[in-house]
């Protein structure tokens, strides 16, 4: 074998598919909290993202000339994933996403039904009910959820297009708090699993990917970095590194040292 040719596993294009759409980037980025839409667009590009989450809100009637997200983060360059942030009931979520579908003309959406404003923890009972409403209306739903493997299974059975457990509370940057649960969810799921929320820095994203997740969704970790564009690039590399490490299969852990240089032939 020619030593200069990489084995097939290192050259094959790695991709994942959600609701029949295939993507090569495993990093989904949010579009909130940036100082302006131009920075936002530059960060999304630096992240290599193909999907961006967006929110649906009332237009500004007092100044209709204000800049719009769609003029910077363009829907022909990124797949928009409209969210239901700010919704606390299934009905609010359904109403919001019907409007999103009309505004954007697509049915791939992110459901999040929150409970407590302090923790922004998802209300899983209401999330599951909202999911069923949305699925019955033909939406393809990626679901933000707690890291509870039992609820994750219920969501999948109810027709979720992807399961998106939190690593830690939204915007906390605490990193993945319960790796065991994320791994359990990954092992049982037949739909894509993405860590959504809680990533603070690049190593957090890599850990999520090393656990076998199909992707990572983040917003604050990039938007609130001192240099969002540089952090976006770091996240791109972290997700790719974590993915490769997962595919490569890590070495076994040992209690004690094992020399890297052979002991035989010592002088």
């Amino acid at each position: 074998m020619n030593a200069h040719v990489l084995p097939e596993s290192a050259t094959t294009v790695d991709s994942w598919t959600v609701a029949g759409r295939t993507f090569t980037s495993r990093l989904i980025v949010g579009t909130g909290k940036y100082k302006d839409y131009a920075t936002n667009a530059a960060a999304a590009k630096a992240a290599g993202a193909q999907i961006v989450t967006v929110a649906v809100r009332r237009v500004n009637l007092t100044d209709p000339t204000q800049p719009l997200l769609v003029d910077y983060v363009k829907p022909d360059e990124f797949t928009y994933l409209p969210n239901t942030a700010g919704c606390f009931t299934g009905e609010e979520a359904v109403r919001t996403l019907r409007l999103a579908r009309e505004a954007g003309g697509w049915d791939l959406v992110k459901l999040e039904v929150l409970s407590d404003p302090k923790t922004l923890y998802p209300d899983m009972e209401e999330t599951l009910r909202a999911l069923k409403l949305l699925v019955s209306e033909g939406f393809q739903v990626m679901v933000y959820c707690s890291d509870d493997p039992v609820y994750a299974r219920k969501l999948e059975e109810a027709g979720a297009a992807a399961i998106m457990p939190l690593g830690a509370p939204i915007g906390s940057g605490l990193g993945i708090q319960n790796r065991v649960n994320i791994r359990l969810i990954v092992e049982q799921a037949k739909v894509p699993v993405l860590v959504d929320a809680g990533v603070g820095t690049a190593s957090d994203a890599a850990i999520g990917m090393e656990l076998g997740c199909d992707g990572i969704l983040m917003n604050t970790a990039i938007a609130e970095a001192k240099d969002p564009i540089l952090m976006a690039r770091a996240m791109k590399h972290a997700v790719m590194a974590g993915r490769d490490a997962y595919l490569a299969g890590r070495m076994a852990r040992r209690m004690y040292a094992d020399p890297s240089s052979p002991l035989a032939g010592l002088i």
């Binding site: 949010g30 579009t31 909130g32 909290k33 940036y34 839409y37 936002n40 989450t53 967006v54 929110a55 649906v56 809100r57 009332r58 237009v59 009637l61 209709p64 000339t65 719009l68 997200l69 769609v70 928009y80 409209p82 969210n83 942030a85 109403r95 019907r98 409007l99 999103a100 009309e102 505004a103 954007g104 939204i170 915007g171 929320a197 917003n219 604050t220």
Partner: protein, 66 residues
Amino acid sequence: MRLSVNGEERGFEGVSTVQDLVSALGLDVRKVAVERNLEIVPRSTYGTAALADGDQIEIVTFIGGG
């Protein structure tokens, strides 16, 4: 005609359809979605979707979010 637009009561002159309203507000129809009395108004019907006094209208767009 009196309409409630995004929670705000306003009077409009010479507005009879959703298309008229969106234009009167200076908005780009391709970048918004409209709800009339909790029902989605499909964009293809803006020109014919008649408005009535007292209608509750919501006009939304995409903004940054996580």
